[in-house]
């Protein structure tokens, strides 16, 4: 699309062609295309009308002349010409008492963002995150000595239970209490990360297996997400 001269299109010639072709058109598709061509021609006639009106108005100046003149003028002269023909709008931005009241009512009635989309997307909980060892110590869940001792105890327990075989992960966590399961799972994750235990998952059955190893292994670590709930 450009601002080309609409009089470059010979409307008469195009209409004559359409007229000649019309008796040959038999199918609806052909007639629709013919109608579309006619519509496009009317658009060009409309543009020709606008073009003539603009040329007849005093605003019309040859584009080449304008380009030349604007090229000659410094920026200051251009802006000065604009300012001298400019009548800025007089208007004020303000806060009215009514506006403040509206804003207050809006803010007062605004549902907190956590509640706003509850119906659509459900509740927002805290995003899953990572609790590291130092944080657990700072929370008083572990002391440093206790953690190391418990880690060795858990490793020994797993060594005995597995004895070179895979052990059911969830069975190993036990069912004493939810807190106890989480604590054992956390320490087991630590052992696995350190290469002192292995983990195997069966995606189809959802079963998870673990095994302790006497000597630390090195390899490329992989992340596995396992949910722990009160029932399992």
């Amino acid at each position: 699309m450009s601002s080309a001269n609409p009089f470059d299109v010979d409307i008469r010639e195009k209409i004559l062609i359409l007229r000649q072709k019309l008796p040959e058109l038999k199918f609806l598709d052909e007639l629709l295309v013919d109608a579309e061509a006619m519509l496009e021609l009317t658009q060009i006639v409309k543009l020709q009308d606008q073009w003539l009106k603009s040329r007849a108005s005093s605003l019309y100046i040859d584009p080449l002349l304008i380009q030349l003149k604007v090229k000659l003028l410094p920026k200051e002269a251009l802006s000065e010409a604009f300012i001298k023909s400019w009548h800025p709008v007089a208007q004020i931005d303000q806060l009215s008492p009514r506006g403040i009241e509206k804003a207050f009512v809006y803010w007062r009635d605004l549902v907190p963002i956590s509640e706003r989309f509850k119906d659509k997307f459900g509740t927002y909980g805290i995003k899953p995150g990572v609790v590291d060892y130092s944080e657990l110590i700072s929370l008083g869940v572990f002391t440093k000595d206790e953690f190391e001792t418990n880690l060795v105890q858990l490793h020994n327990e797993l060594l005995q239970r597995s004895n070179g075989d895979w052990v059911d992960y969830r069975e190993f966590l036990g069912d004493e209490s939810y807190e106890s399961k989480v604590r054992r799972a956390y320490m087991l994750a630590f052992l696995i990360s350190e290469g002192r235990a292995l983990l195997k998952t069966e995606p189809l059955s959802g079963k998870v297996w673990t095994m302790a190893i006497a000597e630390r292994v090195r390899g490329v670590p992989k992340s596995v997400a396992i949910s722990i709930n009160g029932e399992s």
């Binding site: 601002s3 709008v89 007089a90």
Partner: protein, 186 residues
């Protein structure tokens, strides 16, 4: 006698109301549509606007009407604007950048010379002879946003309603041509 003074009081009240309606910005764009004026001032709002325009004249202001697309009274937009253009130093002191105004002046002249519509790329090419690309992009987008220029979905640039409202386009074209002649003679 009493009826006459009551009428005068009513007129004064309506003129005051018209001034408040015009001077306080409501929406994103300045000005008040004809149908809104009718709602605020009643059917005879045009008479009230005439009186207001005379009243604000000593302050250097006037009420200006921009005709809407369909040409009806309801679609017209009324604005309170400077009767005379500001001086160059006044405009500069108001924080307007000379470069920005120069881009707008050149664009208006170019679009008008191209029968009121021209492709954005063509405008950019035209302006590139005088301004850096970043300034052109920034200024054109800004002026489209503020209503001085319009850009349709085919990428054609038109003169915006705000230019029709605020700029005396004939004066602008004449000034550009005459200043260019002066520069050429020097």
């Amino acid at each position: 006698m009493e009826a006459e003074s009551a009428d005068r009081a009513l007129l004064e009240r309506k003129v005051r109301r018209a001034f408040q309606v015009l001077v306080l910005q409501r929406g994103r764009n300045p000005g008040v549509k004809g149908w809104e004026m009718k709602r605020h001032l009643g059917r005879d709002y045009r008479k009230i606007i005439e009186v207001l325009s005379e009243d604000v004249s000593p302050m250097g202001l006037e009420v200006f009407e921009v005709k809407g697309l369909d040409g009806t009274d309801d679609s017209s937009r009324f604005l309170l604007r400077f009767k005379e253009p500001p001086t160059v130093s006044e405009a500069e002191n108001s924080g307007i950048r000379i470069d920005d105004l120069a881009v707008l002046a050149a664009t208006i002249a170019f679009v008008n010379s191209k029968t009121g519509r021209v492709g954005r790329r063509e405008v950019e090419q035209f302006l590139r002879e005088k301004f850096p690309k970043w300034r052109i992009d920034y200024s054109l987008d800004r002026y489209v946003k503020r209503g001085y220029l319009e850009q349709d979905d085919r990428g054609m640039v038109h003169i915006g309603w705000r230019t029709h409202a605020e700029v005396d386009e004939k004066t602008l074209m004449t000034l550009l041509l005459s200043r260019a002649q002066e520069v050429a003679k020097k």
